[in-house]
């Protein structure tokens, strides 16, 4: 910080402000209701999108304007906005889906990246495949996340180390391969797909890295600046102590 002159710092700050104001970071979130879309965004960016375990929090297509706090540094008083395009009720009501899909078609070409969330619990891919067929032209900016791997059979998550059991791990690999194949068949190309658990933070780092790679090169630094987690956040303290002791 002391390496920059005041004038240089001001130039960088002003350029950042212009870039973020004229073109705020935008994510398109797709996935049928209940797959943990909001939980995923909240885990990556420490946002507070509403999460409901029963019904969708809202039935309406949303463009949510998330204001992220800048806690310290020279831009403490500045606001950074993350826009999230979402249809929380997608897949819940056949009468509403066409309208949601039309809105996605209008909005998705303008987002930086599309995060498509699936649930590891759900083998039925037909709905997602049908939706994907309508958006296949945007496949280059898509990242598929298979969430809720903590609920994969036999559901014996190893809480002590916050990792799936070895048996779960093998099933998770099978699920990832299966979903990849089914999605690839729709668009005729390989897809970026990451199995993870937003609740446990499992493989969130991989999901974020793949997301970064999917972004246009000039936009990556913005999303990385908003990243609000590290994989170490999810390792139990007791495990950290053991690892430290074993060194």
């Amino acid at each position: 910080m002391a390496d920059l002159t005041t004038a240089e710092f001001r130039q960088v700050r002003d350029a950042m402000r212009r870039t973020l104001t004229s073109s705020p970071p935008t994510i398109g979130l797709i996935g049928v209701s209940g797959t943990g879309k909001s939980s995923t965004v909240n885990a990556m960016f420490k946002t507070k999108l509403p999460v409901s375990h029963t019904v969708a929090c809202t039935k309406h297509f949303e463009r949510v304007d998330l204001r992220l706090a800048i806690h310290s540094g020279e831009m403490q008083s500045e606001e950074v906005r993350l826009h999230v395009i979402d249809a929380p009720g997608l897949g819940e009501d056949v009468s509403l889906d066409p309208a949601y899909l039309d809105m996605y078609k209008e909005q998705l070409p303008r987002v930086d990246v599309i995060l498509w969330i699936l649930s590891a619990r759900n083998r039925a891919m037909a709905l997602d495949q049908q939706y994907l067929a309508q958006f296949s032209a945007l496949a280059a900016k898509m990242v598929f996340g298979v969430n809720q791997v903590d609920l994969v059979h036999p559901m014996n998550w190893n809480e002590a180390i916050n990792l799936p059991s070895t048996l779960m791990e093998s099933y998770i690999e099978e699920i990832a391969a299966d979903r990849s194949a089914k999605l690839s068949n729709v668009i005729g190309a390989s897809v970026r797909l990451v199995p993870y658990s937003a609740v446990h933070g499992y493989n969130l780092e991989r999901l974020f890295t793949v997301l970064i790679a999917a972004l246009p090169e000039e936009r990556r630094w913005i999303f990385h600046g908003l990243k609000a987690f590290t994989y170490r956040d999810f390792i139990p303290d007791s495990v950290k102590r053991v690892l430290k002791h074993k060194r």
């Binding site: 540094g73 831009m75 180390i161 991989r206 970064i212 990385h224 908003l226 994989y231 390792i235």
Partner: protein
């Protein structure tokens, strides 16, 4: 919590190592992106002053996150 088995400790090490590699990969891509952006903003001259900071340059300058 009971004592961890050697297998569990091994799995944790393996997982942490993979996540660390991924974290660095994302950081490197984002750093390149940031420096490209600086050049595009005609601010390439400051890159030499912050290159030691790497991707932390953004957070260090502006305390994001």
């Amino acid at each position: 919590m009971g004592e961890l088995s050697e297998e569990e400790i091994g799995r944790v090490h393996q997982y942490l190592a993979s996540q660390e590699t991924l974290q660095r990969e994302a950081a490197l891509k984002s750093q390149e992106s940031f420096f490209s952006w600086l050049r595009k903003m005609s601010l390439g001259h400051i890159i030499g002053k912050i290159v030691d900071w790497g991707i932390l340059a953004i957070k260090k300058l502006f305390g994001w996150g």
